[in-house]
């Protein structure tokens, strides 16, 4: 399988990239790690006439910690997030999520920005980014704007990003000491993507759940926050019964997907099971 032919640009600045995007409009695709885009091009599900390779834009890569938050460049690879001491120390759920992605080769090439923009329903990042209430900073012809994670994922492979925009940074507030997070995943046996992945951030005071944030991917055609679980558990004691009752709501109001790997009922069940396991693990 080889892709159709295309014109290739490798801009070295963000402005240059944005200009190219504006010029070529719908014909163009941004290329980051290529680990989602190139496979779809090989299958000719995508046949962009123009490729704008943004990997030479140095500013878009790496993690820093200005004023109580992590700023993650969109081009930061899964592996960099998995192995960064800063990330491991400040927001370990990010490293954990990164480690659950594909294999070493994939993690070495794939970027967090590419994964978020691609918005594969079975991708791992969205659950965690949702649970962390991250802000996504994007740049476009009219300047910059910030999209909240909860507004970002819209439909299957569709986000709030406009065609002429580039995702530049992901901003994550560093959780307080009484907040812990975990990402649990059931792997789709063949591909290793998430059949279901659940990310939980639990803020507790003593035995009480002060706040819980639950992101779920793999279940519906778009990753979501399991708000039913969150409101059910908030303010309650973290008892096994309360956790189980709250986790029951992990797929409420959700249209679960069906494919050869799982039925909708099975996916909905996994959301509940993993929500329960994740919360219980953090509560123990």
């Amino acid at each position: 399988m080889i892709p159709g032919s295309f014109e290739y640009f490798a801009p070295t600045s963000l402005n240059e990239a944005l200009d190219l995007l504006k010029t070529h409009g719908d014909d163009a695709k941004v290329l980051a790690g290529g680990h989602s885009l190139i496979p779809t091009m090989k299958l000719r599900l995508a046949e962009p006439a123009v490729i704008i390779d943004i990997t030479r834009i140095g500013d878009l890569r790496g993690v820093s910690e200005p004023d109580g938050k992590l700023v993650i460049g969109a081009l930061t690879t899964h592996y960099e997030l998995e192995s960064s001491a800063l990330v491991q120390q400040k927001v370990p759920i990010l490293s954990q999520t990164a480690a659950a992605i594909g294999d070493v080769q994939v993690r070495n090439k794939g970027t967090i920005g590419g994964s978020l923009v691609h918005a594969d329903p079975a991708a791992d990042w969205p659950a965690t980014i949702l649970a962390l209430d991250a802000d996504l900073k994007v740049a476009g012809p009219d300047g910059e704007r910030v999209i909240k994670a909860t507004d970002f994922f819209q439909e299957l492979y569709t986000t709030a990003l406009e065609p002429e925009e580039i995702l530049t940074e992901i901003h994550v507030s560093i959780p307080a000491a009484n907040t812990k997070g975990v990402y649990l995943k059931q792997y789709q046996a063949a591909s290793g993507f998430a059949l279901t992945g659940v990310a939980v951030l639990l803020t507790r005071s003593g035995d009480t759940c002060q706040k819980v944030a639950v992101g779920v991917n793999g279940v519906a055609d778009v990753a979501y926050r399991a708000t039913g679980v969150e409101s059910e558990l908030a303010g309650k004691t973290l008892s096994a019964e309360n956790i189980a009752a709250a986790a029951e709501k992990a797929a409420d109001g959700v249209d679960a997907m069906e494919d050869i790997h799982a039925s909708p009922a099975y996916r909905a069940n996994l959301a509940k099971v993993y929500a329960q396991r994740a919360i219980a693990q953090l509560a123990s």
């Binding site: 059931q186 050869i260 099971v273």
Partner: protein, 711 residues
């Protein structure tokens, strides 16, 4: 009559000897067909049908041929003929690069009239299904019916009767090296590097196809990456490679794509069996009634076994094949057996439970009707039960506490594997001391190359690495059969052994007169010849062969059937852990006790057993060719949706290669037979709900648990 001698006298036979090609394989030095390159070589590609069922009305290759870099294009189907499944070959091209060939495939134009199709087995048997063969009304082959005893009288005697339906999916071979060839012509001499299980069979096929004398065709298979029954001839793709090479006047490499490998290169057919079986109060199987069918696709599917292994006096079976619009079945590692064994061993457990008997005890009572196998099997039961800890299994299935429940189950298998006549081999001793063993067999990865070296080295008192084994090439003209049916070792080694004996005898005849003794007084061991009556009288191997001067010893062998045996028994035990919230089944340990006749190389024998178990557990838990009834296409013709067990799915495997005598036997196939049944029974023992349909996916486990919860 030759013999392998006593085990205590063997220095090499039965030891753990690393395969001779191991280092080359792990360092990438070994050349598989895929790695073969020839000067000026072109790359071939096949266009497989994107439509499921159609009459081809015209094929136009001119656009493809006009693409710069394309050197030849050929049709593979005549207009007026039908394609009857997705992927069926329509045309092929050869081009300077693989990328150009891929582009050229897109430029092949063909017209067709689409025909109705059916890809679902049950639907294929309904009245208004499209009819796929003129001579198969209802898309069903004439049922094969087998009757013995008196089935009704049997059931009358039964104290307990179980009636159940078992189902297994279509499994594709997924050879790591896809089917493929490199074909090169020199005048009217054709050389083909082939990823094949049958060097000489491939030679014959190509010679006939091109109307050439066989000796004008040379087939080479130095290393190959798995066939499992799907690679017994050049196939459409091999003939296409040679035709393209002839047309383009340049060598052509044509490897089948992974997708086409799933679609057209064969499969293990599905199985559905409705069984009713009864046993007497004291636990004897007494009656067995089966109606079953299967499909491999456009052809194949009836050939599964049942009743299996166990002895039943009153039997009626009726089996037929169902045709659908999908790629056809081919032999696959123990054809018919794993699916039959899964049904039978599930049924055995169901009956045992009805009788209130221990499942192992029930098997002991009904074990094999064949005395040798029965005796071995009883030993295997004991060994395996001890190794898995049979006493630990849940007395009440599903009784374990907690979310993750463990269970233990077992299954059985039997196989032929005794080999046969038809192999030519030579053992040659040169004056410089080098030894060659030459025969036309091929090493599919089973380790036959190393086995041949071990046998010759044992006989000549040398080390395996002292023997140059030349196999996988038809050029020396020493024919051997295809490697199928686990027949290779039983066919090849008796001839190798007798050739080595004859060569050694010739060398002794050279040396004996110099020592003033009879040849019979000499022995060979540790790189020396010595006098049996006086071990201090020695001559080194090299010095001895030096006496040959300008001579060379080269001896053939014969197939001594006393050196091999068939009809082996195998038993496996599995322990699994089932997550009752997610339905995931995790194998914990599998014990495979395999009757191996005489183990020649314990290392590669265990490797074969491990491989069989892995393939069996993959069949039990993961693999399934999923067809889409709407489009008539396979949904998962890749590796990211069609899952084959990998490192992460493989539990501890305890391979017990049981020496059962001093005769060789083939065990490539038998260890894959009992695994699915053992796992299915272990799952039942863990959760108390029976899954009668493979693969046992998490989804099915949870649905079954939910059903049980409702009841």
């Amino acid at each position: 009559m030759a013999s392998w001698g006593e085990a205590r006298d063997s220095r090499l036979i039965g030891q753990r000897i690393p395969r001779l090609s191991g280092a080359d394989k792990v360092t990438g030095k070994a050349k598989y067909t895929f790695d073969v390159n020839q000067p000026g070589m072109l790359y071939g590609r096949i266009l497989g049908s994107p439509v499921t069922h159609a009459e081809i009305t015209a094929i136009n290759l001119s656009e493809a041929e006009a693409l710069p870099g394309v050197k030849a294009a050929i049709p593979l189907i005549e207009p007026g003929k039908r394609v009857r499944y997705q992927g069926q070959e329509i045309a092929a091209v050869a081009a300077e690069t693989d990328d150009i060939a891929k582009d050229a495939i897109r430029l092949i134009r063909f017209d067709y009239e689409e025909l109705p199709y059916v890809v679902d087995v049950e639907e294929a048997m309904t009245e208004d299904a499209p009819q796929l063969h003129e001579d198969r009304p209802g898309n069903q082959s004439k049922p094969g019916i087998d009757e013995r005893g008196d089935i009704e009288a049997g059931f009358a005697e039964a104290a307990k009767v179980v009636e159940a339906t078992y189902h297994a999916p279509v499994q594709t071979h997924v050879s790591l090296e896809t089917h493929g060839h490199v074909a090169a012509w020199d005048g009217d001499n054709l050389t083909v590097w082939a990823s094949t299980q049958a060097v000489f069979g491939t030679r014959r096929d190509l010679a006939q196809h091109f109307n050439l004398p066989e000796d004008k065709v040379r087939v080479i298979t130095e290393h190959m990456g798995g066939g499992f029954g799907s690679k017994f001839g050049p196939g459409v793709e091999g003939r296409a490679a040679a035709e393209l090479a002839r047309k383009a006047e340049a060598p052509v490499k044509l490897m089948v794509t992974r997708k086409d490998e799933h679609l057209v290169s064969g499969n293990r057919p599905s199985m559905t069996q409705h069984v009713r079986a009864g046993a007497t109060k004291d636990g004897r199987l007494i009656a067995y009634d089966l109606r079953g069918y299967g499909t491999g696709g456009i052809s194949g599917g009836a050939g599964f076994t049942g009743p299996y292994v166990y002895h039943v006096p009153n039997v009626r079976t009726e089996k037929f094949a169902v045709s659908i619009n999908a790629g056809n079945a081919r032999a696959m590692r123990a054809p018919g057996h794993p699916q039959g064994a899964f049904g039978m061993d599930s049924l055995m457990d169901e009956l045992a439970e009805q009788l209130g008997m221990d499942a192992l005890e029930f098997r002991r009572i009904n074990s094999d009707s064949q005395p040798r196998r029965n005796e071995i099997r009883q030993t295997e039961y004991t060994l395996g039960a001890r190794e898995i800890g049979w006493h630990r299994r849940n007395k009440v299935p599903g009784a374990g506490r907690g979310v993750k429940k463990r269970g233990i189950g077992m299954g059985c298998g039997q196989w032929g594997g005794g080999g046969g006549k038809g192999t030519q081999a030579r053992v040659t001793i040169h004056a410089d001391g080098t030894v060659e063993a030459v025969t036309g067999t091929q090493d599919l990865g089973t380790g036959i190359r190393t086995v041949i070296a071990i046998i010759v080295a044992e006989e000549l008192g040398l080390r395996p690495q002292d023997i140059t084994v030349k196999i996988g090439d038809s050029a020396p003209g020493l024919a051997s059969g295809g490697s199928g049916g686990s027949q290779t070792i039983g066919s090849v080694t008796p001839v190798i052994k007798t050739a080595a004996i004859a060569a050694k005898q010739k060398l002794f005849e050279h040396i004996a007169p110099q020592w003033g003794v009879e040849p019979e007084a000499l022995r060979a061991a540790s790189g020396k010849l010595y006098l049996a009556s006086d071990r201090t009288k020695t001559i080194s191997w090299k010095e001895a062969t030096g006496h040959l001067g300008m001579e060379t010893i080269s001896e053939g062998g014969y197939w001594d059937e006393e050196l091999r045996i068939g009809d082996v028994a195998g038993v496996q035990f599995a322990e699994v852990e089932v997550d009752t919230e997610t339905g995931v089944v995790k194998p914990i340990k599998i014990v495979a006790v395999q009757d191996c006749g005489m183990v020649v190389n314990r290392l590669t024998t265990e490797s074969q057993i491990n491989g069989g178990v892995i393939m069996g557990l993959s069949y039990a838990l993961l693999e399934d060719r999923v067809m889409d009834a709407q489009t008539g296409k396979m949904i998962n013709p890749n590796m990211s949706d069609y899952k084959v067990a990998g490192t992460m799915e493989i539990p501890e495997i305890k391979a017990i290669a049981l020496d059962t005598g001093r005769k060789v036997t083939g065990i490539g196939e038998p260890p894959t037979i009992p695994t699915a049944g053992a796992i299915a029974n272990a799952v039942y023992n863990a959760i108390g709900v029976r899954i009668r349909e493979l693969p046992i996916t998490p989804d099915k486990v949870l649905s079954a648990l939910a059903e049980k919860g409702k009841a």
